[in-house]
Symmetry: C2
Subunit: 244 residues, 2 copies
Amino acid sequence: MHPVIRKLSTFATFSSEEVGALESTLADLVEVRANTLVAREDEHADHALFLLEGFMCRQKFLPNGDRQILSLVLPGDGCDVGVSLLDRRDHSILAKTNCSLAKVPDVTLDHLMVRYARIRAALRWATMQREAIFGEWIVNVGQRLAIQRMAHLFCETYYRCRAIGITEGNSYALPLTQTDLGDALGMSPVHVNRTLQDLRKQRLIAFGDKRLTILNLKELVELAQIDPTYLHLEARFEGQGVAA
Amino acid sequence: MHPVIRKLSTFATFSSEEVGALESTLADLVEVRANTLVAREDEHADHALFLLEGFMCRQKFLPNGDRQILSLVLPGDGCDVGVSLLDRRDHSILAKTNCSLAKVPDVTLDHLMVRYARIRAALRWATMQREAIFGEWIVNVGQRLAIQRMAHLFCETYYRCRAIGITEGNSYALPLTQTDLGDALGMSPVHVNRTLQDLRKQRLIAFGDKRLTILNLKELVELAQIDPTYLHLEARFEGQGVAA
DNA sequence: CGACTATTTGATAGGACTCAACCTCCGTGG
DNA sequence: CCACGGAGGTTGAGTCCTATCAAATAGTCG
């Protein structure tokens, strides 16, 4: 199944017409290499990107060079949806692995959303999920201890990967360095290292070869104080298939 | 001018028909008292809320009782736009002052967006601005020192207030307690107090009677390392007024 | 005036950072 | 085939920022 459809299928089931419309909209493919910038800050853009395969992060830099990773982009996720409405992008997008992307003019996406109510709803749902994840990240860096923050990230990513069917048992690909993790969690690389060791010592996770394995989900969830409800993986759309 | 139109006018200028459509859509008014919950976590909802007058916060609680404020809601801002697509709300909304709200069924909003391209674009712009602000908050709590975080919040809110014309000179209403500030910035109330004193001693701000005054914007901006570009207050929509 | 909430101050503790060095793994190239 | 360089990971020591605990001082309201 097409990654984007697989992702949106969590929310709604599409008619074959809708599937066709989505697939033909997502037909313009681009390949990018690992560790390249897919989109830069400060530039104007007029097309959205959907990740089909691979792993990316959205990130922001501070004047002093510090970096914050804002979100992890998994297959099926959209980036830059609606950028054409902005004067400039306020963050950059970095491919952590070789990636396959679909490039869609914002205008085309707008037409698609006007035409198909269910697709419109699904894309808005995806937007709300993104916002919810952002909210949890704020809670995460704002309120939790380092080890909890890390546990939370690992759990969240596990649930997201599972929802799109890319886990293998209790493990999933996590192509981040310890420095990356630090920039995502707001902690220094050194402390990431020590926190990882702590989690390993407690036999909660294994992490190596760009892959994370959860050894004890129940305890990791408890440590992270995570309630995956905010990912809204249970939402189901029952509305009309066409615009009213 | 209607607060919502004033806010969206940063992005686009509406025709009188669009203004009429927006105003009649926002005609169902609700008043709420200061310090009451406007919306609770975990409940399902099917209408969006637009703040017309007053000041609210979106917030989340952790199992241990800790609270994180996710965002400040100013007049003209929408909350819960699209909630009907979710199974449940993942955060609550708290009125910090007496507030006047417009309640709009999500379906009505959906119709409005299908009918008017410019309104659709404006509401999507507002969504992207919200997401951009979330992103900055992640950077803020993740990367900056306490005093910078606070300076950042004060500057951001100043720019947002100014954009909707509710500043008075260099001051604006900020009806938050020191505890609230702590929950927004991820710091303890005690440290909020000391950080405030620090900012006051440097003659950067004055804060009292629920009002914040910026005494030296230039230096405060520098301290906060803030570039208000991410608020996208310069974006201007030039597209068509009706659906394609 | 008591009961509360909000703010302030002092002292202490602890989580996380910084600095610095060392190690391992790999791809490159002489 | 091995020297070299770089990126990523690990470890130790010392320091700093911020939290916690405790208590005192306002300010508010019925």
